[in-house]
């Protein structure tokens, strides 16, 4: 299977994730504190946090036994950049092409 694309634009396309970002943008928070703001299950929120962290919209900081999540404004700038959304769209397509080309080459190597 081809990997699904995970990038900043996909991350902010989700309303819950946008809500998480607006919370954390005000002050750094623990995953528990973030989850307290939603009616959704903790597991669901933690999945959303994970996606935001993977896209570097959130950064982690170990604070004693707790993990604090910070908002990463520099990553968010990409969204405002004129070319970036379009570039990301193509990058996503080409990444699919990369894995396909890789697959095809592995197949022919085995022959």
């Amino acid at each position: 299977m081809l990997k699904t694309r995970r990038d900043v634009f996909q991350a902010i396309a989700d309303p819950t994730r946008r809500a998480i970002l607006s919370l954390v943008a005000v002050s750094a928070m623990t995953p528990g504190a973030i989850a307290d703001n939603f009616d959704t299950r903790r597991q669901t929120i933690s999945k959303h946090i994970q996606i935001l962290a993977e896209c570097e919209l959130l950064t982690q900081e170990q604070n004693g036994r707790e993990i604090m999540y910070h908002f990463n404004p520099s990553k968010m700038k990409e969204v405002n950049d004129f070319i970036e959304p379009f570039r990301q769209l193509w990058e996503g397509r080409f990444k699919q092409l990369d894995s396909l080309l890789n697959e095809l080459q592995n197949k022919s190597d085995r022959k």
Partner: protein, 153 residues
Amino acid sequence: MKTQVNAEKGKQDLHIIREFKAPAKLLFKAYIDPSLFEEWMGTKLVKFDCSPHGSYRFETNDPSGNVVFSANGTFHEVILNERITRTFEMENTSFPVQLEFLEFEGLSTQTSKLNMQILFRSVAYRDQLMQMPFVQGLNYAHDRLEEVLNQRL
């Protein structure tokens, strides 16, 4: 391997440049072989006659099978392992057809480069199109939000 997009201010074209860890021959194949094209573009080809003056049409479905996007175009030049010139038109949008020049270049036996030039009808259309992916993402999110809200009502 990062995709490079060059769009000079005030011009009605743009360039997309990308290197691949595959020979040019294979990269080209991914563009002219219908099943390979479908696989990496994540779409369904309804028509695909990849030869000069031949045409193509594809549809992209959502998980429940509804057509969410469709586009078509005509091939003008198909030069094996070197070049494809084609038009591209998004259906059910106000965007006029665009002209695309794709050049395939072998860098080594194992690497290649794609240089794509896209020409738009006007500067305004180019600029508008470049803003689209993000807008689509947001619309998609809004649609889903509506869906969820409707279910709760």
